[in-house]
């Protein structure tokens, strides 16, 4: 039984009296101790999916219009606000993209960790503070006993992201959602943060949903990957399978547009065109206007999800043709 089961998730934006679908029929499962990666260009719906899982869409113009999110035996979409608060932070936690703004500037970092701890655990101030120092040590903040009284602006981006991880891991959550956790960091710090997350995962058995637009990060850290395009999962497979046997022309396009260090490339192959805006109505496969393999059928018929190998699904009519 998977820890997190998202099935047929539909999310729409309400604008000018109509609902524009932005996430359509996304399904995936994440088991304990597993890292699940979601890749895609900006606007493909990957962040919205993560926000929907965390229940952060409430009160905005974006809402879940269908499907279910099952977490640890409970249906999240039907949970009362109070029950959800009990889960948030304790059993599922999130790390955000912007380490510069994700900590409250007016509080010392220690107070923010202590608050999370005391919200969910029956702890005295003293105990919570000791635990916070431990956590800071765990995420390799030097001199945690002294740094616990620092304000966010006194720390570097990498350190703040580690503090965020410490906060997220404070109550040993079963699920950690990381929305582009390393995008705002430079490459060396990026590596440290990813290693740290992997290390914590192996110690605590946390399931991680890692959202990124960086295929390199995904390849290095994830067990399974889903590639999203325009609100749908275009291709999904175990990481090894996906990178050795890319089927969907979009996935291949993404990989081809990454410069390779050991090869001398004159010209990087970009995917032509741009991501369609959410109010553009497209018939057939959403990728067909940009796809080199597109044929008449792609314009009229939206491809269904199908298996190409065990655990490897795609949404494309012709995927195998070009995979050789």
């Amino acid at each position: 039984m998977a820890l997190l089961e998202v099935s047929n998730l539909e999310i729409a934006v309400a604008t000018g009296g109509q609902l524009l679908p932005v996430v359509r029929g996304v399904s995936f499962e994440v088991k304990a101790n597993e890292t699940f990666g979601i890749v895609g260009e900006s606007g493909c719906g990957k962040s919205l999916t993560s926000l929907a899982i965390m229940g952060l869409l409430e009160g905005s113009q974006v809402r879940i219009t269908g499907g279910s999110i099952h977490f640890d035996g409970r249906e999240l979409t039907a949970l009362s606000a109070e029950d959800r608060r009990a889960i948030m932070g304790a059993q599922m936690a999130m790390i955000f993209q912007e380490p510069m703004t994700s900590l409250n500037p007016v509080y010392r970092i220690g107070d923010q960790i202590v608050e999370t701890l005391r919200q969910h655990r029956d702890m005295s101030r003293r105990q919570a503070r000791d635990r916070a120092v431990e956590l800071l040590d765990l995420v390799r903040i030097p001199e945690p006993g002294r740094r616990i009284d620092s304000f966010p602006h006194q720390m570097s981006g990498g350190q703040r992201q580690r503090v965020m991880i410490a906060m997220a891991m404070a109550c040993d959550p079963k699920l950690l959602i990381a929305d582009e956790p390393t995008t705002a960091l430079d490459v060396t710090v990026q590596k440290e943060v990813l290693d740290l997350m992997a290390d914590l995962q192996s110690r605590m058995g946390t399931a991680i949903v890692l959202i990124s637009h960086d295929l390199g990060v995904i390849a290095e850290t994830c067990d399974k990957v889903a590639v999203m395009y325009r609100g749908k999962i275009a291709e999904s497979a175990a990481t090894g399978e996906l990178f050795s046997n890319m089927c969907h022309p979009y996935t291949r396009g993404l990989l081809n547009s990454i410069p390779v260090v050991d090869r001398d490339v004159e010209w990087l192959e970009a995917i032509p065109g741009r991501v369609p805006t959410i109010d553009e109505v497209l018939s057939g496969c959403a990728f067909h206007p940009r796809c080199a393999m597109a044929e008449a059928r792609c314009e009229s018929e939206d491809p269904d999800k199908r298996d190409v190998a065990t655990g490897h699904t795609i949404r494309c009519h012709f995927a195998e043709v070009g995979s050789a």
């Binding site: 889960i87 948030m88 932070g89 999130m94 912007e98 994700s102 007016v106 906060m167």
Partner: protein, 283 residues
Amino acid sequence: MTFIASFLSMFRGRKLAIVGLIWLCIVAFAAIAAPLLAPFDPLEIDPVARLSEPGMPYLFGTDHFGRDSFSRAIYGARMAVIIGLGSVVVALITGGLIGMLSAYFTRLGHVLMRGVDVLMAFPALLLALVLMTLLERSVTNTIIVIGVVYATTTARILFGMTLKLKGEVFVDAAICSGAGHGSVLFRHILPNLISPLLVQASFIFAFAQLQAAALDFLGLGLPPEVASWGNMLSEERIYVTRAPWLLIFPGALIILSVFSMNLVGDAMRDSIDPRFKDDIAGV
């Protein structure tokens, strides 16, 4: 200590603001120590010495009842501070709550902020006059009315700032760690609003003085027996040719205090909001 040090650092290089601050300290001292400083009871009547000129023993002269103007001015300072602080508290609490709740709960905001808009459509003094005519003249009512009038601008300002803070990632992060609405609003958003609230408080304090003086002058503010600068002006205005000092002293006190408070408020705002820096260098 660090708070006082950082407060004083706001006034570095601003000579006029420092003068203003000193004047406000004098007013505050007079307000606290009024019974010790005032040579006479502010209500004590000396019928023989009606409308006497400034001198000894009546420093600011006496009014048409023979009450000592100097003592009344000192007790007036006490009233000014009470009205100022009271209005600030009422305005910040009601306006702050309306603004923050409106920004946080969008639907409630549609209703509340339209109400605020309606109130803001009236000039401040007119609104205060209308409300005062509905209420009995008393210190408490004056404070409430002035507080409500300035709650509207406070609500507007906090509405905008809360709206901005609500979108910050640390708010999402707080929700993700299981914080409820109350905790998000008052523990995560409110502490970020302290500096603008302080600045707003300084301006409300200044405007409350003017507003209270205007209400007193029009005979709708504090009860006539209360020693306030506005009442002193109002009661003695018919003696402006015979005993002009009866108007000059309280008038000067009002002007000095409001001007000082504005200078201090400007200095605070400039040091908090860098956009205003160097616009009026040296002031």
